[in-house]
Amino acid sequence: MLTFILKRLLIAIPVLLILIVGTFVLMYTAPGSPFATERGIPPAVLANLEAQYGLDQPFIVQIWRYIVGIVTEFDFGPSFIYRDQDVNDLIGQGFPVTLTYGVWSFIVAVLVGGTLGILAAVRHNTWLDYLAVGISIGAQVLPNFVLAPILVLVFTLLLGWLPGGGWQGGQWEYVILPVIALSTSFMASIARISRASMLEVLTSNFIRTARAKGLPMRRVIFRHALKPALLPVISYLGPAFVGMITGSVVIDIYFSTGGIGQFFVASALNRDYGVMMGITVLLGALTILFNLVVDILYAWIDPKIRY
């Protein structure tokens, strides 16, 4: 087990390096300068600016400095647009917000989706099953950027129950709509996956044996069926996590929550490459880490998997 974790961590390092080098090359080859304005800057000023940010150095030196900065000091460099802030400041500002509604969405998606799927499978071909399938199909065609306007339309404009945007330090009424918008499609996927795998488990031989020896249904489901049925759900958690991080872009734009996605898009539109790269690398690292956690969890729960 330990060697497996170590091996996976060792693989993660080159992946991260590839990501950093890749984004850096993209930034380096990008036409135009982040300092270019419509009126143009005198060449001397431009040269000074570039020297200040180290852009006049050869490519290898620049990329080496960038990687060293990240590895040794966890420093993602300066922002090219916000002169008084560097990338770390911006990330430190936005990341807690993203994390708050991200974690809530994750919990909601797993709990509601899992329960819905398991219930639907246990009550197969009853109204409950049809309802669950209906909900999960409906939620599938409503990705977060479609659901967000609908939610605002219903709950803010028509009913007036919840605020349609803002964060206010994470008060609960500001968190609800972002969480619903972000979690719904993942909830639907989790419900679908857990229903399918629970149905398969419930028709398998060991469940029949458990019921044949007279165990009550409740015990059969909780003791015997639940664990193998949830395995495919766990392997979906990795992609779901990535999706939620990506979804934060929409949530931040739509609800003005001020999370990390907002900075990402703003920097994309401003050509603030430093911020873009910082966020891409940070989220890439998180993604890799989370996939690793999921794999370890998977190996821990499923005794058939040996590393």
Binding site: G22, T23, F145, V249, V265, A268
Partner: protein, 305 residues
């Protein structure tokens, strides 16, 4: 003796028995599935709207109706009289024509993205699965590495750095979409590779790439087609997401994501049709693809037989 002769005569007299191919079977199963047929019908309607909508529209998708501009909430309502059947957008452009044009873009992105993934992913997966061993290990490790990159951010990065264009969008979407397909194709190939007909082909001296092309890939088609129909909606969602961020197709061209975004931005002004019209097409198309995909899976699933 007599009885057997009678039976033999009967058999000889009967019409020659027609074999039912796997595909004919699957087609029959598919058309028995009402949800799938309904989905197919919806998709045909949407495609027809995309193809012929611009022809029957009374307005061009980029022309501004100056009589409406400035009073869109009143004069821009959907009406039959002034030719704006779906109303106009905030700039007074005809929403019917724009939706038709956006449908073209979204459908095209979905289908091209799925096509790239089918072609690249199937061959990649088939090659990796067929050769196995170290080649397989390296090829699949590459897929793992690419999968652990937050592609949406990289795609946005690409679009910003190299400028927004249709081509870049296709390249970006194509870069990531084939990964899942490669895994699926590889898994199937691993079981196909040990079948007798492959062994027979090897024994008669057929080269590995010919075997992959002639024997492995045709047998993968069922799985690939099912997955591809489920891939089209996710490609459409990607593109809409990018357009929603304002990084997709350039004005005056549009797509569902851009239209939904525009409509959502105008929500406070009482012009709900701007949101609801593109939303309607988006939702029914995704429903259509999901139902057709499910129907195809049921029709082509060998477990069902």
């Amino acid at each position: 003796m007599l009885a057997t002769k009678a039976i033999a005569d009967d058999l000889a007299g009967a019409a020659p028995i027609k074999g039912r191919s796997l595909w004919a079977d699957a087609r029959a199963r598919f058309f028995r599935n009402k949800a799938a047929v309904a989905g197919l019908f919806v998709l045909v309607c949407v495609a027809a709207f995309a193809l012929f909508g611009p022809l029957i529209a009374t307005w061009n998708y980029e022309d501004i109706d100056w009589t409406v501009l400035g009073n869109v909430a009143e004069a821009g309502r959907p009406s039959l009289e002034n030719g704006h059947w779906f109303g106009t957008d905030a700039l007074g452009r005809d929403l019917f024509a724009r939706t038709a044009q956006g449908t073209q873009v979204s459908l095209m992105v979905g289908i091209v993205g799925a096509l790239i993934s089918v072609i690249v992913g199937t061959f990649y997966g088939a090659v990796a699965g067929y050769f196995g061993g170290r080649i397989d290990g390296v090829m699949m490790r590459v897929v793992d590495v690419l999968m652990s990159i937050p592609y949406m951010f990289v795609l946005i990065l690409l679009l910003v750095v190299f400028g927004r264009s249709m081509l870049m969008l296709f390249i970006g979407i194509g870069l990531v979409s084939w990964l899942d397909m490669a895994r699926i194709a590889r898994g199937q190939t691993l079981t196909l590779r040990n079948k007798e007909f492959v062994e027979a082909a090897v024994a008669t001296g057929v080269g590995p790439f010919t075997i992959i092309r002639r024997h492995i890939v045709p047998n993968l088609l069922g799985v690939v087609i099912v997955y591809a129909t489920l891939l089209v909606p996710s490609m459409i969602i990607y593109e809409s997401f990018i357009s929603f961020l304002g990084l997709g197709v350039q004005e005056p061209l549009t797509s569902w994501g851009a239209l939904i975004n525009d409509g959502a931005a105008e929500m406070n002004n009482g012009t709900l049709w701007m949101l609801l019209v593109p939303l309607f097409f988006f939702v029914i198309t995704l429903f259509g693809f999901f139902f057709v995909g499910d129907g195809l899976r049921d029709a082509l699933d060998p477990k069902d037989r």
